[in-house]
Structures are given as C-alpha cells and as structure tokens.
C-alpha cells in the first residue's frame, strides 16, 4: 500500500522534502514506515522513538496503517 509521510522543521530541511510517499506491505505499522525513512538522505539519524501523528492525531508507533494514511513526523526540538 501507499502512504504519505509529512516532514516538518528540521526533518524537512534535512530531507530537503516536505513529504515522502512510501510503498509498504499491506500489514505495515507506523514503526516500519519510520524505519524505511531512515534510508533517505539526511534522515539516517531519526530517533528510535520519534513522535508521530496519523491522519492528524498523535499515534503510537505500533499503530497499523491503512492505504492512503497521512503520517506526520513530529520533530522533537527544544521547547519554546
């Protein structure tokens, strides 16, 4: 299935992209999508447990994905 991953702030700058489309197996969860992202240039150093949202809601890395899901990586940066 195809999912979209949105990138923001330092992630967006590091990857030089605001979004990425990934092709995943039908039973993939969020963690597998994030692991795939680590192969992208600039994103090798993503934290082991990044904060994520699925379809505009904070979600667990164990959440199962559905085709067309909109995943967002929420960068952990200094608080303001």
């Amino acid at each position: 299935m195809t999912v979209t991953i949105l990138l923001f702030a330092n992630h967006r700058e590091l990857a030089n992209a605001a979004s990425v489309e990934l092709e995943l197996s039908a039973d993939a969860n969020v963690r597998e999508a994030v692991d795939r992202l680590r192969s992208l240039p600039g994103l090798a150093c993503l934290p082991a447990e990044p904060t994520v949202a699925v379809n505009r809601e904070y979600a667990s890395l164990e959440r199962d994905l559905n085709p067309g899901d909109e995943i967002a990586l929420i960068p952990a940066v200094a608080g303001g």
Binding site: F8, A53, E57, A72, I74, V77, G79, G80
Partner: protein, 151 residues
C-alpha cells in the same frame, strides 16, 4: 480557518492565522455576566537563552494544528465554566515584538479565568504541531517546537 464551536452555551473559537493578531478584535469578549476576563499574549522576543534573535518563522502542520487547538479548547470549556474562550496562533514570518499567540477567556469568576487561560497555553505549547525557526545574530539557526513541559 475560523471554526466556531458551541459547547454548553460557551462561545469557543480557535484559529491559526497567517495575518497579524489584533487584540482589539479579541477584547469585548463575553457578556456582562462575566466578571473576569484574562488575556494571555505571547510575543516574539528579541533573544532566546541570551542569543539575539534577528528573524523568526513559524511552520505549522496546519490541519493538525487546527484540530488540536479545537480539541484543547473543547476540553477546556468542558472542565471549567466559561462563556467565551478564544485562541489564535500565528504562522509565517513574524517581526520582533509581534504577537505569536493570544488567548482570551471570559468567565463569571477570576479563578476560572486564570486557570483556563494557563491550561490553554500550556496545552498549546505541548501539543500544537508548530515549529519556530529562529535565526540568530551570529547567523545560526535553531528550531523550537512543542515540548512536554516548559515555562
């Protein structure tokens, strides 16, 4: 971009805005049954942790930010007795001194007005997917974003 939600008679408005925040548009909130109004305003500071800031840009995951802001406001009117609750967060490039966020609460009593206002700003800082790109006088750049706890 201006969702207005009615929850238990309260007027609730949450907005993400690319335009400057005007306090005059926010005041006059509530009715004459409300003895207390609190306004919280966050402003772009000219320094952060001692480093002079020269430019600043807010980047948001806009649709999720709107959703989270609406959720925060709904939770807040559900927990306190409020008649008016309004919050606006800026996005885009801001000048030093410009307002980045404003929260207006009108309530019958002042304890409520303070507590609800404080709750909203803490939740905004904790949950809203908005990141601030700060450019310093020395040319460096830092991203600042939502954080579990911050004062």
């Amino acid at each position: 971009m201006s969702p207005a939600v009615d929850a238990g008679g309260a007027r609730v408005i949450g907005r993400m805005s690319e335009d400057p925040i005007r306090l005059d548009d926010l005041l006059g909130a509530g009715s004459s049954a409300d003895g207390a109004v609190t306004v919280f305003v966050g402003r772009v500071r000219d320094q952060n942790r001692g480093r002079p800031v020269v430019r600043l840009h807010y980047e948001a995951y806009g649709k999720m930010a709107e959703r989270e802001l609406a959720a925060i406001l709904e939770e807040t009117v559900g927990r306190w007795t409020l008649s008016h609750l309004e919050a606006v967060h800026r996005t885009g490039t801001l000048e030093l001194g410009e307002l980045s966020v404003a929260i207006v609460v009108a309530a019958p009593h002042r304890a409520t007005a303070y507590e609800a206002s404080r709750h909203v700003i803490e939740e905004i800082k904790r949950r809203l997917p908005i990141w601030k790109r700060e450019e310093y006088a020395d040319g460096e750049v830092e991203w600042v974003g939502p954080a579990p706890s911050e004062a």
